[in-house]
């Protein structure tokens, strides 16, 4: 039995991430001349069949098991290996989350198949899948050819694709896939789960982020004050997180959070690619920098040349005044 062309596999991500993945999956399945299926591990998201239909999914495969949901990747890898053995697709797509960063390469190793992380785009060239990925913290793009056995695996970066519903909707059905995970004993045990504090940067509509231009750790409060005045969340560039001025959970960028707010105000941030990866999907970027040639202005909609230490408090004042 030949499997589907493309399977988009998701768990634990927002519906907008799923829509991105299904959009990419549908495009690639079209070039491969086959079907797109959506594989859901764990709980089915609200409105799953509706989303699947709008995005042109041929069918939804659903694997539910109490062992899925663990922090470790053992059960996910076992479930995916089982699924691929039963109906191997040509291409298996993932939203790149920190769990997928463990599970997808392990699956690739177990199946002996090719994998590319940080995927941005996928095309087909005479039977070879060609994947464009981000490298050097976003400074470059690498293009990889995938050869050998299928399924080939691609983990797709957040915001790499603009979600677009299918031209004609489908009426997909949900198929339960039974997987026996009885023999899987998660080897990594959680002692203390993470404590999520306050609103998440990933969900924030407004983010004010600070970088080295703040000069001193104590000035990070200027960023927090403006964020509060705008009803938003404070973020930080990696250098000031490394220096301990802000918490790692506040880091925006390749090794931090990938955000997509309506408004992103970057104060004293140079605009290094590793940072821009985390904020380039913002609808409106405002850059504040003393250097008029700073790279951040290339990405910004509005630019303010000046000292963020002076401008941030004035912005807080102006934002509060109506």
């Amino acid at each position: 039995m030949s499997g589907p062309a493309v399977v988009a596999c998701t768990w634990g991500v927002a519906i907008s991430d799923i829509e991105e993945l299904l959009t990419l999956g549908r495009t690639v399945a079209g070039t491969l001349g086959g079907e797109l299926r959506w594989l859901v591990l764990g709980a089915l998201p609200d409105g799953a069949t509706d989303t699947a239909g709008r995005f042109g999914v041929g069918g939804v495969d659903h694997i539910e098991d109490a062992k899925l949901g663990a922090s470790g990747s053992d059960a996910y890898v076992a479930a995916l290996a089982h699924y691929c053995a039963e109906s191997p697709p040509q291409l298996l797509l993932f939203n790149q989350t920190f769990q997928v960063r463990d599970a997808a390469p392990r699956l690739a190793a177990r199946l002996g198949v090719g994998i590319v992380m940080n995927g941005m785009a996928i095309e087909q060239d005479g039977g070879t899948l060609r994947v464009t990925a981000s490298a050097f913290g976003g400074d470059t793009r690498t293009v990889y050819d995938l050869a050998g056995a299928t399924p080939q695996l691609v983990s797709v970066s957040a915001n790499a694709v603009v979600p677009e519903p299918a031209a004609s909707a489908t009426s997909p059905e949900v198929r339960k896939v039974a997987v026996d995970l009885g023999g899987v004993e998660e080897r990594v045990r959680v002692v203390t789960p993470p404590k999520r504090e306050g609103p998440r940067l990933e969900d924030a509509q407004t983010i004010v982020a600070g970088g080295r231009g703040l000069v001193d750790a104590a000035n990070f409060k200027l960023v927090e004050e403006l964020a509060a005045a705008l009803g938003g969340v404070a973020g930080a560039s990696r250098p000031i997180v490394d220096d301990g001025w802000a918490d790692p959970s506040q880091q925006v960028g390749l090794t931090g959070k990938i955000t997509r707010p309506g408004l992103y105000i970057a104060a004293g941030i140079s605009g290094a690619s590793q940072h821009m990866v985390g904020c380039s999907a913002a609808k409106t970027i405002v850059a504040i920098n003393t250097d008029p040639d700073a790279a951040i202005f290339k990405h910004a909609r509005y630019g303010l040349v000046g000292d963020c230490l002076e401008i941030l408090p004035e912005l807080t004042r102006a934002a509060k005044a109506r």
Binding site: S73, P105, R106, A135, G148, V190, R317
Partner: protein, 267 residues
Amino acid sequence: MRIVICAKEVPDPDAVNNYALEGRLVIGDDGKTLTQTSIPRLMNAYDEQAIEAALRFRDASTECTITVVCAGAESGDVLKHAAAMGADEIVSIPIDATTVDYHVMGDLLAAYVKSSGGADLVLCGRQASDDDQGVVPAMLAERLDMPLVSIARDVALTDGGGVRVTRVTPDGDEIVECACPAIVTISNELGTPRYPTMAKRMQARKKQPTVVEVASLGLADTALQPRVTLTKQFVPTVQSSCQMIEGASAAELADALVAKLREENVL
């Protein structure tokens, strides 16, 4: 306990980033590698932090041997740096790294670990700062059948001979435990690695790596066939459409911006 750390040589990411910020980053004639000779090559910083994590065990009087292994064409400088930091043994697996993919690298490193008596703990950087792929540790975990714990900011031994790891997850710190042998990947939140003293660097110059030939690792020809091949690399371009806000003072700039954002319904 035996700790094995896998290290990689990469182009200095700060130099690459500075070139990129100035718009002067170029790809070499082969269309896929960075060849600007002014970009130094050094040890992947996450791998340096993996060595630092191991050295902290020794600082805490844990009896351990620390081996740093590097598979590549010219791993000499990287390994000397590892020795200067405090590695007991440095191991070179000579191979043209451009001809291998993550599978081949995982197979090579796993075969080395097995052939050298195994390891209680394998430490890797969370990813390499050149390709950012971060796939090799997971490959190793499968090949060596060890549990994988990623993005660690702290690694400690438990009384039962396992490890307790603090992970930097997007939701905050998560503390996990697993039995050894295990593979742990280290994130930058571990902190700045120690910089070796001049005396240690002088000593390390004399230290010779153990050379392990690929042929001696007993891998099948098929294991050395890459499934993923880099065919091209390019520098993405940004279409700038920035409107500069004018103002004679910080207050004027702020008022002008807020007015603009309100006008456009962004605020």
